[in-house]
């Protein structure tokens, strides 16, 4: 694919690499393994290779294939099973394992299993950006689904391409699955078969195994899907794991693909790894973010003493370093403190309080100072609180543990919602 180079080190990689001194593994949730750079998938949106068909557009979009037999496959250490009209063709090198799958339609589906974590939003965007030979008419995320406690994002791209017979409409369906051990990217360049694409790729993702690499099972997982006016635009995932030194790591990752015009999505991937010290204070934060597929932030915050922290790293392409202090004498609040405070706000424990003010670290907003976030009760019966951060106000619905299970924020004429879709374990 011309210009479609998969990013060699995403924000997950950066955050994880920064943890090298703390954890010996390639990813906090993954066992040790290869870290060869991913390879480039072939170029979608090349209708020259597709058969030109005339006919009713709606009928083309409505095309589907019924469930196909599942065929098991093993390619080196990678194995799984996949729906396919014919045995999948497989290739493998140190950059990826590639599957070419036939649905019995005009164009085969292609899938890539990578040996290292990938950033879901950036990966999808890299494919869209590589479609330089066609006129993209529409690009949008269509679904966000949880498969095995990891998240897959689906994107559809509609394009027009010049052909000898005139303009032709095409469609590329994409799926990126952000598994820490077997990240998967699939694409299908053919109009229609959307349900089949989702079914086949989801089935493949749930069946994958990589011999010799095991997932470190988190003790807690919480995944929310984000939507704008009901349309999926991203997800956030939280998990806790204990590393080989016995440190409890709090992992957060998110991807957002927010359409800003018919042809553009603002894409952001973030990864944040936190550790608390034995006194329960925030000891260290490693934060990385990519915007539009390019690393924009790679920062480390370290606790120094009492309420003093040192931050250092890259911020919007500039080297930056400094010391910040929280107003409170004990430094940034811990998750336990916040949850305890939120429970009090909605009458779930302890003495009722009218509001909770918390100092948080949001390098996106201010790399060098704490941000004060204000929580106020809205309805004890419904366990709702408002969270105010600058001009933004989010209404959160809490669960019995004081964790947010739903968030809702009006932004001008639209509403952003964050809905929990998976919770396992407890903090």
């Amino acid at each position: 694919m011309r210009g479609c180079k998969l990013r060699r080190q995403g924000v997950r990689g950066l955050a994880i690499a920064s943890l090298a001194a703390m954890a010996a593994c390639a990813h906090p949730e993954a066992g040790a393994g290869a870290s060869a750079p991913p390879s480039s998938p072939s170029e979608p949106g090349t209708p020259a290779s597709s058969k030109i068909i005339k006919g009713d557009v709606q009928a083309f979009y409505a095309r589907e294939v019924p469930p196909l037999p599942k065929t098991p496959f093993t390619v080196g250490p990678v194995s799984g099973e996949v729906e396919s009209a014919a045995p999948p063709q497989t290739e493998q090198d140190d950059r990826s394992t590639r599957l070419t799958l036939s649905l019995g339609t005009g164009t085969p589906m292609k899938c890539f299993v990578y040996p290292q974590p990938m950033d879901v939003g950036s990966q999808l965007l890299s494919i869209v950006k590589a479609m330089t030979n066609v006129d993209i008419r529409s690009v949008r995320p269509t679904d966000v689904v949880v498969i095995g406690e990891q998240v897959a994002v689906f994107v559809e791209v509609q394009y027009l391409a010049k052909t000898s017979g005139g303009a032709a409409l095409g469609e590329v369906k994409l799926m990126a699955y952000g598994h820490p051990i077997w990240p998967l990217l699939c694409m299908h360049d053919e109009v229609g078969y959307n349900a089949a694409f989702k079914r086949v790729t989801s089935g493949l993702a749930s069946s994958l195994k990589v011999t010799g690499r095991e997932l470190r099972i988190p003790s807690f997982v919480d995944i929310s899907v984000e939507r704008v006016d009901g349309h999926p635009v991203g997800f956030s995932r939280s998990a806790t794991v204990v590393d080989e030194q016995g440190n409890k790591l709090y992992l957060e990752s998110s991807s957002s693909l927010v359409p800003r015009s018919g042809q553009d999505m603002m894409v952001e991937d973030t990864s944040r790894v936190e550790t608390d010290d034995k006194q329960g204070r925030l000891a260290r934060v490693v934060y990385a973010k990519s915007e539009g597929g390019e690393i924009s932030e790679n920062l480390t915050l370290e606790h120094r003493s009492a309420n003093e922290y040192r931050y250092e790293g890259i911020h919007l392409g500039k080297k930056i370093a400094g010391v910040l202090k929280t107003k409170g004498p004990k430094g940034f609040a811990t998750g336990t403190e916040v949850r305890r405070g939120l429970r009090k706000l909605v009458g779930l424990g302890g003495k009722d309080v009218a509001e909770l003010r918390v100092e948080e670290y949001h390098p996106d907003l201010d790399v060098g100072s704490p941000i004060e976030v204000l929580y106020r009760p809205q309805s004890k019966k419904d366990r709702t609180v408002t969270m105010t951060l600058g001009s933004a106000q989010v209404t959160l619905t809490l669960d019995a543990d004081g964790l947010a299970q739903k968030g809702e924020m009006p932004i001008g004429g639209v509403t952003l919602t964050m809905d929990r879709v998976l919770l396992r374990g407890s903090l």
Binding site: I52, I53, K54, G55, V57, Q58, F60, D135, R137, S138, R140, T142, L160, G166, A167, A168, L169, E171, V191, E226, H231, A239, Y250, E252, S256, V258, R260, S261, D264, M266, V267, E268, T270, R272, E274, G292, H315, K318, I320, G335, V338, D364, D366, V367, G368, S369, M387, L389, G390, S391, A392, V394, L396, A404, G407, M409, I411, G412, G413, L427
Partner: protein, 303 residues
Amino acid sequence: MDRFRHSRRAAFVVAAAQVSCARPPPSAERPTPPPGSASTAESSGQQAPRRGPTLAPIFLGDTPVESHVDALPPTDRPLVVTIELVRTPPKGALDELRKRAKVLPAAPGSVSFAVVGYPASRDPIRPEDTRPSYVIDYDEPSVQQARADAVRVCGPSPTAEQLAVFVDRYIEHKDMLRAFDLASQVARRKEGDCTEHAVLLAALARSFGIPARVVSGMAIVSVGGKIQAVGHAWTEVSRSGRWQLADAAIPPELGARYLPMDVMTNEGPAFVRAMVERSSALMLVRRITIDPQVQSSKVSRTP
């Protein structure tokens, strides 16, 4: 961990909304879909179809508009703009607009303004409006290179208008993939939307000794016969004691009308925080109504 996740996600979306933007010059847009087109099928005279549930505009920069005029009047004629608010505005949220435009009576939950021409500000020039900063970093090599290119194209003392055209052409990739880049990033990437155009223009203007700053708010434009209101950012340059419009993203011939809502005064590493804390006005706009000129007796000066 779930503890601050929602506030972090909210922070991202708020930041995105703050910089939501008009798409750069309509001339740079991709062509209108040719008549029809089907799945890898040849054109047949129909609009490219949309499938499944109707995808309502979820572009953070777009705002529903009810227009009672068929076309925007010339910029020297008043235009009455009524903003239906999402909620009661925080103190100071609409001050910049109130300071510049004439306030009209409006129904509860709305504010109404009459705008004539570009609502220029008479703010004094601050020393910061001429210096390089974290965001308007014209001392960085990539901006200096752009400056050298501008000298080659426009001569040694370009005007703000010349620089606006230069920046429009210099930014090759007109897309909305970037949230809010620093001027040095824009000069290097040559990509972006209105905010990227605004910061690079401000940086170049300052580099030539022209006081400049970045302003955000709304632009009302007529595109393809349809009046639209979009979140927008542009540049202001100081001239004759007034902060005048210099827009590298929307060419003047489009006759856009501007509603300045926030002047970027914090250009340091915490600039996004400052935008979120100060520029709440864009977040408050639920709907815009455009009316023709009102009777002058109804127009009152902002207190």
